[in-house]
Amino acid sequence: MIKYVVEEISKWAIPVLLVFIPLIGMIRKVKVYDVFIDGAKEGFDVAVKIIPFLVGILVAIGMFRASGAMDLLTAAMKPIMDATGFPAELVPLAILRTLTGSGSLAFTTDLVKNHGADSVIGRMAATMYGSSETTFFVLAVYFGAVQVKKTRHAVPAALIGDLVAAVATVAVVYWLM
C-alpha cells in the first residue's frame, strides 16, 4: 500500500510540478518563459564547474578499486568483524557503498545472487544499498557546484551516518527475520 502510493507520487511528481509551478507563476503575473530562460542559463556553468571535483574523486576511487586493495582490506578486518557479529561478507559493500554507485550495485547484485534473494545476507545487502547514498560522489557534486574546497566536518559526519546506517541495517534485518 505505502509502496503503491509512493510509486504513484513518483510517477506524477515531475510532470505535475513542471505545470504547477508555472501555473502559480501565471496567476502571480510572472513572465514565466522569460524567467525560466533566465534561471536555466546557469545550468551549463554549474554542470561544468563540477567537473574538476568529480574527476578528482572518481579517478582516486577508480584506481583504488582496480588495485584489488579491497579484498585484502576485507581479509584483514574479518577477525574483528567476526567478533562483533557483523557479517564479513557485507564489509566490502559497506565501504564500496560510500565510494561508488555502480560498483556497489554490482557487488550487491552478486551477494543477492550468491546467497539467495530471500536469504539473510541477500536482504541485508539489498537493505544496505537501499538505505544509503554514494557519499563521496554526493559530496563532490554538491561542494563542486559551489566551489567549496574546505569541507570541514562534512566527511566525518557523513561517514558516521553511513556506519550507523550499516550497523542498523544488520540489526534490523536480524530482528525482523
Binding site: A13, I24, V59, V141, V146
Partner: protein, 195 residues
C-alpha cells in the same frame, strides 16, 4: 580530511597495484574514471538547466519562500544560521522531497540549487558552512522511501517477497540520517572556520 582520503586512495592503489600485479588495471581505471566523471557532469547539463529554470519561476512566484515558511520549525532547528525568509529554506525542502521520492534527476539539480542559496550566506566562499554540512549529512545518508532499484534486483533474482526490504530500509535510513545530522551538529564546534 578529504585531502588525506584522496591521497590515501591514490597511494593504496599504487601499493596494492604493485603487490597484486594489477597495475595495468589501475592505469586503465584512472583514464576511464576521468572520462566517466566528465560524462556524468555533461549528462547533468540538461536536468540542471531545466530545474534551475523552473526554480527561478518558483522563486519569482513566491513558492520557494512559502515552502520554507511551511516547514519553519524543523528548518530552524536543522539550519539555525539560515534566516527564516531566505530562499535556501524552500530549496532545501524541495530537494529533500525529491530525494525521498527517489526522483534522482530532480533531486541533484534541486540540491545544487540549495547549496547555491547557502553559498550566498557564506562569508568564506571556499569553506563549508554549518548549514551546508548539515544539508550534506541529510543528502549523503540517502533519505529515500522506496529503494526501487533494489526491489528490482531482488525480483529479478527470484525473490518471493522483494518488497520486504522497504520497512528495514526506511528504518535504517532514518537511523543513519539522524546519526549523520547529530554528528554534523556535534562536530561543527570542533571544526572552526579558519580566517
Amino acid at each position: 580530511m578529504l585531502n588525506y582520503i584522496w591521497f590515501g586512495l591514490l597511494a593504496i592503489a599504487l601499493i596494492f597495484g604493485a603487490i597484486n600485479g594489477t597495475m595495468d588495471k589501475v592505469s586503465e581505471a584512472a583514464i576511464e574514471s576521468a572520462k566517466t566523471a566528465v560524462e556524468i557532469a555533461i549528462g547533468l547539463i540538461g536536468v540542471m538547466t531545466l530545474w534551475l529554470g523552473v526554480m527561478r519561476i518558483a522563486e519569482a512566484a513566491g513558492l520557494v519562500t512559502m515552502l520554507g515558511r511551511l516547514l519553519r520549525p524543523v528548518l530552524r532547528w536543522l539550519f539555525p544560521e539560515v534566516p527564516a525568509d531566505h530562499p535556501a529554506n524552500g530549496a532545501i525542502v524541495l530537494s529533500l522531497a525529491a530525494n525521498m521520492l527517489g526522483l534522482n534527476n530532480a533531486a541533484t539539480p534541486l540540491g545544487i540549487k540549495a547549496m547555491e542559496e547557502l553559498q550566498e550566506l557564506n562569508p568564506n566562499k571556499d569553506t563549508a558552512t554549518n548549514p551546508m554540512v548539515t544539508f550534506m549529512a541529510l543528502n549523503t545518508s540517502g533519505v529515500q522511501l522506496i529503494p526501487a532499484t533494489m526491489i528490482g534486483v531482488l525480483a529479478a533474482s527470484g525473490s518471493l517477497n522483494p518488497t520486504w526490504i522497504i520497512g528495514p530500509s526506511i528504518i535504517a535510513t532514518f537511523i543513519g540520517t539522524v546519526a549523520a545530522v547529530l554528528a554534523a551538529k556535534f562536530l561543527q564546534r570542533f571544526y572552526k572556520v579558519a580566517e
